[in-house]
Symmetry: C2
Subunit: 238 residues, 2 copies
DNA sequence: CGCGGCTTTGATGTTCATCAAGTAAAGTGG
DNA sequence: CCACTTTACTTGATGAACATCAAAGCCGCG
């Protein structure tokens, strides 16, 4: 694979963290001493598209948050088929829900675009949680919100059939990830299928159908949303 | 409904809490002062089968843990159809994953057997979390574990088809809930369908098929598992 | 330039939901 | 306690949604 020649860069750039808007969300209210502790325990890592960040089975020993790029969380079943659990974007606390269970990763994490991740040593994070109750509450609050979202999302998606799910994922990329009606898909059709629980063939068929109906335009990886309103209706009603 | 004539009992029996094995799991290491705080904020509530404990949309203002009985968490979609998210048994921290998000219940909770619930005022719980970092860590650990289980469960169930899911739910009742090969179903066939995402009719059909194949015996609500090994194989392979 | 993975389309088959219709059981009211 | 109503349960027939299988073109890359 092409990224094998690439040497992973690890940065320790305190200034880039001080100005990081994502940091503010969780670490914003820490006092100077705690902040320095976290910052010393923090590593900034860069991954090329396609690189694996964590492997299913690895020990969970750090807290990850995504600064730039895009990652997918996925699991492999016995037959070797993958299923994508979620796609995370900048600002997401990728593994927050699972880091405190003292077990190994139950899923893998892979960069699907060139990605910058902040990695905070878990022991240090736990130390700060133990000594700063308000910070602990913020972590709990964040975890609950992530959990709320997952429950709500699953519930919504479960009622939909294929067209609705494809429409939803297209709007997800357009609105939540790229903030544009035109974007390049960061994943293959097979992966989209793995994400919304359908086969590659039916993913493609639905794409073709949307193109026929002038909802979108497709040129291999490039998608242009032509009729967002109708796509929204399909995404909602199923 | 028959329970309308029933007056809800609220108890404040400190001794029953001191000896409560479930309490130990989370509140075991609190010091005397904190323990008394929690205990004062605690209410023990009894619900008859069929009673609603929390309604979708209600404010989340307490932490619930189940001492006796059985509850279901469910959501209603636009068309009025219900979907059961999970069934909780004694020892489960029913709403732990969601209580810190400062929003309202995204699901309803209903007793599906006569049920005893401990209800701890959320503000007091949060106070103790803020002042006791080790306790905060135990809460975080518990949340992560619940989350791990949900992810794992969903992943397993998603690969299975109807027979596998029905077999799984039968083993769940036999092994995890009643610890017996013979038990009375606490929910209707429709509800089983809502729990494993299939129609009432197909739930029944699968039951009938299992009966024909001498895997189980059914007499309305009463189930006897005749061939657990074969049932396990079906549950696993799908 | 040829190999392997991605993409595409069509044909076929399976799984499951929906519809219909009837029986059994359980709650309700006189 | 019995008629009445409602809800739960059951089975069969039909059709829709989706997976699977097959085959071919495309594209990047060694």
């Amino acid at each position: 694979m092409y990224f094998k020649h690439f040497r992973m860069r690890i940065k320790k750039d305190i200034d880039s963290c001080r100005t990081c808007i994502y940091r503010q969300m969780l670490f914003g209210d820490l006092d100077d001493f705690e902040y320095k502790l976290i910052n010393k325990a923090r590593t900034e890592r860069f991954y090329r598209k396609g690189e694996v960040i964590k492997n299913q089975g690895e020990k969970v020993d750090s807290f990850l948050y995504l600064r730039k790029g895009l990652v997918k969380l996925f699991k492999t079943d016995k037959r070797g088929k993958e299923k994508i659990l979620s796609i995370n974007k900048p600002g997401d606390f990728v593994n927050l829900l699972n880091i405190f269970s003292k077990t190994n990763y139950k899923y893998s994490i892979e960069a699907i675009e060139d990605t910058l991740v902040c990695d905070v040593d878990l022991e240090v994070l736990e130390h700060v949680i133990c000594t700063n109750g308000d910070f602990a509450m913020r972590v709990l609050n964040r975890m609950s919100k992530i959990s709320d979202e997952i429950i709500e999302n699953r519930f919504e998606q479960a009622q939909k059939q294929l067209k609705g799910r494809v429409a939803t994922i297209l709007l997800f990329f357009a609105d939540d990830i790229y903030h544009s009606l035109k974007f390049d898909l960061p994943i293959t059709r097979r992966e989209i299928g793995e994400l919304i629980s359908m086969t590659t063939e039916n993913t493609i068929r639905t794409f073709s159908e949307f193109k026929r109906d002038k909802l979108i335009n497709i040129k291999t990886k490039t998608i242009i949303i032509l009729d967002k309103e109708r796509l929204k209706i399909i995404a909602k009603s199923g």
